[in-house]
Amino acid sequence: MLVRKLGATTLFALQRTGRMGVFLVKALIYAITPPLKIRQVLKEIRFVGFQSMLVIFLTGAFTGMVLGLQGYYTLNRFGSVALLGPMVALSLIRELGPVLSALMVTGRAGSAMTAEIGIMRITEQIDAVVLMGVNPYRYLIVPKLLAALIALPLLTSIFDVVGIFGGFLIGGKLLGVSQGTYFGEMANYVDTQDILAGIYKSLSFGVLIAWICSYKGYNAGFGAEGVSKATTQAVVLSSVLILFWDYILTSALF
């Protein structure tokens, strides 16, 4: 009995993973083959990117400020406050920028993606798209995927820059590390490889968010409960996978 249950659960999990994989492959194929719904892509970039800027700005600023504060007191014990700039910058560029930006975008735009597609599913709007001979992947999924792919690295860059200045605001203006030391040391310790790694991470997080959130909405259950469940699952699964994938990439890239 237990073995049968275990087998059924394993098969179910495998089937679901397979379906999610097929969904992503289809979306990627449609993303690289014409025609592309440019207007839809721009609309989604505005939603995922531009409209997330405030939350990214605030999160970046406070993260940088906390890093500046904590970093100063920690480095001060070892007499190395001169390294505050590199510490803040490397923490942000390599880890916190990509990860926190992705988590913020998941909460703000990813959940909305799932809810929007889920409501379209339960109100037969997706069926209507299909019956008009319009490919729902091209119309609904691909624009979200491309928007996340374009917006995430840009939002992450904004997060990093704002965070670095947030760190300087505390470490420099409040605690007395000089501007030259803060930014000068940063140039000595941060190299292109660090920046590129951050960009690779944010690109992959963009795909991950659009994939999970669109899939969950596209396969939402019945009624309002189905959509709310799909939205919760999308946010939780995306967040966990972002952290998991971050670990894998960090191991591979650094």
Binding site: T123, E124, Q125, D127, A128, V130, L131, M132, G133, V134
Partner: protein, 248 residues
């Protein structure tokens, strides 16, 4: 021509369709009648290719719909019009943009030509003044009429109507059925209509099929159905509580 042969479908172990077969000739409208929850909408969604059957075949003009893939399937669907029970309008688009959607997506018409076609379609359904409104700002009857305009704007060859008058007052219901009749007179589409508005629907269709307990009980002209002596058909048409149809 639409041919449905031996269609079977179960949902979570519950067998809804148990071998449904019927055909609709070109240019003909068939009314699919039967009790609520008996699978009429499920049949429509099978014919439109939205649901795959457990067993059985559906052919549209000789093409087996479940054998078509990709562009071929999209092309076939491009000949369809489907009026959903809920209207299924895109909530983020205005009435105008909803009706323009299939033209923008599936034709190479200029924006001016699209505008003319959409306004004509909206005029036919009496909604020319509502073009800038969103679905949330209009009534149920207006939603149905907008959806009707959207489904007909590309002059489809095959139309499916899923309870086009449910939830509407008798005047609007009558107006919608009149519209379907007049548009059929103009376009001569092949169609299937699911409706409980029997008296009026029987005036606009050429054939009626009654679904009962997962199979087609009888197919005939409206006159044949109205004069049927089958106790199930008689009970359904008269709306009597007494008879072989059990209340679920």
């Amino acid at each position: 021509m639409i041919e449905i042969e031996d269609l079977h479908k179960s949902f979570d172990g519950l067998q809804v369709l148990k071998g449904v077969s019927f055909r609709v000739e070109r240019g003909e409208i068939l009314a699919l009648i039967g009790g609520s929850g008996h699978g009429k909408s499920v049949i429509l969604k099978h014919v439109a290719g939205l649901i795959r059957p457990d067993r059985g075949r559906i052919r549209i003009d000789g093409n087996e719909i479940f054998h078509l893939r990709g562009r071929d399937l999209e092309q076939l669907r491009g000949r369809f019009g489907f009026l959903f029970q809920s209207g299924a309008l895109f909530s983020s688009l205005t009435v105008f943009d909803n009706v323009a959607f299939p033209l923008r997506e599936k034709t190479k018409l200029s924006e001016q030509e699209i505008r003319e076609k959409v306004l004509t379609a909206l005029d036919h359904v009496g909604l020319k003044d509502a073009e800038d409104k969103y679905p949330a700002q209009i009534s149920g009857g207006m939603i149905k009429r907008t959806a009707l305009a959207r489904s007909l704007v590309r002059s489809p060859e095959i139309m499916f109507f899923d309870e086009p008058t449910t939830g509407l007052d008798p005047v609007i219901a009558h107006a919608i059925l009149n519209l379907i009749e007049s548009i059929h007179g103009r376009l001569r589409f092949t169609g299937i209509i699911v409706s409980h508005e029997l008296s009026r629907v029987f005036q606009i269709v050429q054939k009626v099929a009654m679904l009962h307990e997962g199979v087609i009980l009888t197919v005939g002209t409206p006159e044949e159905i109205l004069s049927s002596s089958d106790p199930v058909v008689r009970q359904f048409i008269t709306g009597s509580i007494e008879g072989p149809i059990k209340l679920h």
